[in-house]
Symmetry: C2
Subunit: 424 residues, 2 copies
């Protein structure tokens, strides 16, 4: 089969990760190996927004070293956004704009690195192009620290946030261990609005019964303040200290966010300080124990300085495989990770329909936590453990700090009038 010839665009979407640039690197390097089919590869400034605004830059104009160094650089080097496109009817003009921009630049390959919202967008672009007989190959590359995408064993970005946050919990846990006579309780907030994958991963830090984290709370299990306080009391009575990890998205029995509850109950209409701060106040007020909290927020998802090599390598392969599949005629699919073996862990790639990923959320299985729901089981260790292995070799500058790459961003000349539709 003669491959489809034309140009390619790659975009990054949603919250950055430590290894989303590895996926971009996999896409770009694989495209550059197939110059006969794909003449140019463009980056879309700030994700899908860059396509809507025809704000593209030529990745072929970047040096091979810059491209290679993407694997050592955190966050989304191409630029990202949260730009929600709705259904094909309501937001048709925006979807049409994407197709128009693709046509104007002879873009025949669209690689979209993102989570389920992005796969939804990619799916609709793919369908619209087919409707209009515009030959376009659309491939999704999975990315989310949340690890909640359907159809894939796990998600690039997860292993790195797990490795780093588990390490931070080990380190801060040693602090609580040394200072328990003064600071007996620490609460650490993990990202995760809907799922407890990240919070649960910190359980890997606990190699011994008395080590942090002693208690983990996830959104999948309804949160009860009474039970929480009883848990903390019990651990404190036993060990003289307690180290808690809580997912930002824990919900009460009515399915309401605990952080939102805190907002209504105690904070009036102000913005939230976060659930860890709320729980810390609860512990101090109700148990009378001095308590402090850590909230690593965006630091946790960009920590390339102690990221998982396994995760980074898999992120790269997902990007590479998306290009290989597109060149061989596949479209409308996301690359998935397929676990092919335990001990030793082996992982291959597969494909899933974009629509399947768009509409699914993978929750933490109940059996990955113990009966009480506050500690991880061997099943969780077996699942998540291999994803943390190895360290990404970063480059440290002469000033002792990491060196990250940045693109030159040679703009691609615009060919269309500015988009006048509603942009947000």
């Amino acid at each position: 089969m003669k491959p489809l010839t034309g140009n390619a665009v790659v975009a990054q979407s949603g919250g950055p990760t430590a290894v989303i640039n590895s996926s971009a690197c996999g896409v770009i390097e694989e495209v550059l190996r197939h110059g006969a089919a794909i003449a140019h590869i463009y980056g879309a400034n700030n994700g899908i927004l860059g396509i809507v605004q025809e704000d593209l830059f030529d990745l072929g104009g970047e040096s091979p070293d810059t491209i290679a160094d993407l694997r050592r650089s955190p966050s989304s080097a191409i630029g990202s956004c949260r730009y929600k496109l709705g259904d094909l009817t309501k937001d048709r003009e925006k979807y049409q704009r994407l197709i128009d921009v693709f046509k104007a630049h002879d873009i025949r390959y669209f690689f979209y690195i993102g989570g389920n919202d992005s796969m939804d967008t990619a799916d609709k672009v793919n369908r619209l192009a087919r409707e209009q007989n515009y030959d376009l190959r659309v491939m999704g590359v999975p990315k989310t620290i949340d690890n909640d995408l359907a159809a894939t064993d796990h998600c690039p970005g997860y292993g790195s946030v797990a490795k780093y946050l588990a390490t931070a919990v080990m380190e801060a846990g040693r602090d609580t261990e040394a200072m328990y006579t003064f600071d007996p309780v620490t609460v650490t907030e993990a990202m995760g609005r809907n799922t407890g994958w990240i919070a649960a991963a910190t359980g890997l830090a606990r190699r011994r019964e008395d080590e942090a984290p002693h208690l983990i709370y996830v959104p999948e299990i309804p949160f009860s303040a009474e039970r929480f306080l009883a848990d903390v009391r019990e651990v404190h009575r036993r060990l003289g200290r307690a180290f808690v990890v809580v997912a930002e998205g824990i919900k009460n029995e009515k399915g309401q966010y605990v952080a939102a509850q805190a907002e209504v109950d105690s904070f009036g209409h102000r913005q939230l300080g976060g659930v860890a701060d709320y729980l810390r106040q609860l512990i101090t007020r109700e148990i009378g124990l001095k308590s402090r909290y850590n909230k690593l927020d965006t630091c946790q998802r960009n920590a390339i300085h102690f990221a998982s090599k396994t995760d980074s390598d898999e992120a790269y392969r997902c990007g590479q495989e998306a290009v290989r599949q597109a060149l061989s005629g596949t479209s409308g699919k996301m690359v998935t990770l397929v676990r092919e073996g335990e001990k030793p862990y082996r992982c291959g790639t597969g494909l899933a329909d974009l629509a399947e990923v768009a509409n699914g959320v993978k929750y933490l299985p109940r059996e990955f936590l113990d009966v009480a729901g506050t500690r991880i089981t061997e099943a969780m260790r077996a699942y998540a453990g291999p994803l943390l292995l190895g360290e990404v070799p970063i480059r440290v500058g002469s000033d002792g700090l990491p060196e990250f790459v940045r693109f030159q961003r040679r703009p691609v000349p615009k060919k269309l009038p500015a988009f006048v539709g509603k942009q947000q």
Copy 2:
């Protein structure tokens, strides 16, 4: 001179650091090299509290590998506390108890690793021993991430928190750079109740004009909410984003903590969420910009996984030098770090009176910040830069997470009745 023979005790005090165990390692290894003078070296469980409670363990009973691995392990492995002893008159029974415990165990060498409160305690113990003609050598080993001890060029613990937090700011800064269309402002809270050394060190992350952090706020410069909001507006107008670092201890023009102000103004009598959360709310309310915050809290001071080798090595040398000085007859002094050369940076050790360190606080010099007080100058770069160099080689286990050491803690049999005085 025939050296004083007897036993030694080493204690760690106050907030842990990534390298306080390096100092302990320096003390222990140097003592073990001088077995003719010092028969046993004991650790005091939980700092000075362990001496008051006669709760000692035998460090000579630990394996040499365990002792060596202290250099790869964060926090205070011997145990720490915040146990404040007052003046010699009011708290005399406690100071006397320390002397009694020393006498009961023939302890002739006391090595105290800590900050200015600890040097105050050590100074008083030294004076009381002399008063009572008990031959005791008391040596202080400097430790504080805050870098605010008098008489020393810098403090062990500072270089590591600086390296790690600057790295975290680089990484989170890339997140804000990629996501500015959705999350334009990030506020990161740095430790530092009284001084801006840590907050200022994150300025080293800013290699280019447009890189994070764009604005730094320190306790030494009175904080004005109006000026702060104008600063954020200006940076946002220029770059489309703003990354702010704020020391936890910033104060208003009246010298009141801004975090405490927040408590009174908006939070009723609840405990504080911290100053970064307060500033985030201020930005959102007054400028209407979406804003998020990072608070690494105890994670920042224990981050051995990306700690400064320069800092760790100097921490070791301070411990080692304390032993050498004590063996040669010195007492009532703290080891200091003396900068002996720039380009290349060289650092030796010196001595300061414990009383001088006890009563001093070293503030960030005004000339280390620019006229506006929100960016560091070349003078700050020249001072702090060398302290971040090199990485501590940690050990990573087969599970991909760091391995830290823990003592066996073979207890030293008690010889005295329990202390019945007020303990806190």
